[in-house]
Symmetry: C3
Subunit: 214 residues, 3 copies
Amino acid sequence: MITEHPLLLVLDLTGTFAFALNGALTAVRAANLDIIGVVTLGMITALGGGIVRDIIIDDLPPATFTDWRYLAVAAGGSLLAFLLGRRLERLSVPITVLDAVGLSVFAVTGAGKAVVLGLGPAQAVILGAVTGVGGGTLRDVLTQRIPIVLRSELYAIPALAGATVTVISIRLGVDGVPAAVGAAAVCFLIRMLGVRFDLNAPRPPGEDGDDQVG
Amino acid sequence: MITEHPLLLVLDLTGTFAFALNGALTAVRAANLDIIGVVTLGMITALGGGIVRDIIIDDLPPATFTDWRYLAVAAGGSLLAFLLGRRLERLSVPITVLDAVGLSVFAVTGAGKAVVLGLGPAQAVILGAVTGVGGGTLRDVLTQRIPIVLRSELYAIPALAGATVTVISIRLGVDGVPAAVGAAAVCFLIRMLGVRFDLNAPRPPGEDGDDQVG
Amino acid sequence: MITEHPLLLVLDLTGTFAFALNGALTAVRAANLDIIGVVTLGMITALGGGIVRDIIIDDLPPATFTDWRYLAVAAGGSLLAFLLGRRLERLSVPITVLDAVGLSVFAVTGAGKAVVLGLGPAQAVILGAVTGVGGGTLRDVLTQRIPIVLRSELYAIPALAGATVTVISIRLGVDGVPAAVGAAAVCFLIRMLGVRFDLNAPRPPGEDGDDQVG
């Protein structure tokens, strides 16, 4: 597996940890959730994208579920968020950065895994994005929110970009760790630019007043 | 696969296109969704039912996901809805008709595929209905609405009827394209009658005032 | 399969029936749902946990879906709830007890099945809990509620406890019906104590006023 290289594994686990922190913090903010709810949401955020990907590509039981390191890191990040609770909110900048790391690594390793298992390039790009945004989508559905990927933030586009670079580089025979890190960097930069300048993807035409005209 | 006959393939792709339009339009109405959200919702509406069916019958990766024609038609319908936006709402009648075509074809091909893969008749009927209503259900969950199949419109019953006719005709040895088209026509007619006369399935007893009595 | 013993099968079907009643009643209360919505929600509540478990452990098509007895019991319980409707609410105590039976049996048989299929102990415990709470979670997502397992009631902890006892007893070689019934009893007792004394799992620190201080 592409994540078996130590550097990619470290990045992948970092992403898992960041997603767990992020998901569990969402649960803490949503109040009324007990420790089980907080840890469950954290773990679903961290592991959900990989599980959905593995169901679709038929690599079951899911790798992130059977590998104890992912379970342990996801549970640890969730518990930490539960214990520190609202104090972590001061750390919103580093958490956003870590979350972007997770998005980037998951998009790249997800797309890479899909290519390795023989899926076509469009499918691999979609699955890379699904791996990156799937966990957060499950978290949002369970906490009664429109998933972030459907809403205003520039979230899916960087994941699609990182996955596309991954698929192209594998096609060109430039795989391995440097290509994966480069693809993740593309995703990370776009995501960070989106956060920094509050960029959004285009909206449907005619949303502001066009109705009367058109 | 039963949909490999050109006529059924055309119907199946028509249904995919209709579901994509419909799902993407829902996203446009729900506002606040960008192009990614609109296209994502359209594609999930179009492909979700088949993906859920293929997960349950263990035919992975899902056929509608690996076949580029389905992906292309679903993406095209979603993009069209994004570009035309609210102007498409004037076309609500043809869109409702196309949506009923999708429901009918998906119910029939879903049930047929389940029979071919060896599931029992009750399971095949349920899976046909799941194929027909699954995509719309995912769309509704993601946009924070009670799924249409659970609510007031006569939506699941035509799908169950079309799937039942399919299973019976296969059992009687009357399979092939004419039987499939006939079963789809049964579903389509019931759905259209339901829309035309605003029919609903029965409600639980005692919903209006019975509470004080019973 | 562990549930092939007559006593465990009876318990498993009892749990299925209780979950179907419970899920369908939820739908009746949520109003605006017709017979299809009520029966669909009842069946999803009863069968959903087992289906999610079987997807993750790759035992497809799902056992509870292919076995007609589970389908029949789930459909029967759901129809009964539809017909009796709000009158069943007087029976809330026996329904809560039956629901706890379902939670207990599903947690135990779910964990047992995961061990038999070769998953590690932590994974088996999680899958046992998923089997117990999965159906209710799907029900809550479809009816626009934060899933009960994430909210205040002591619901996941008894399932985790029952699954843990199951995994330990299998490891110690003490499997078979008595061990399974004992593990289910542990889950059942904790759940009933939680209901009786309105116990909740711990909340995140700093939820009441700590914000100003910390």
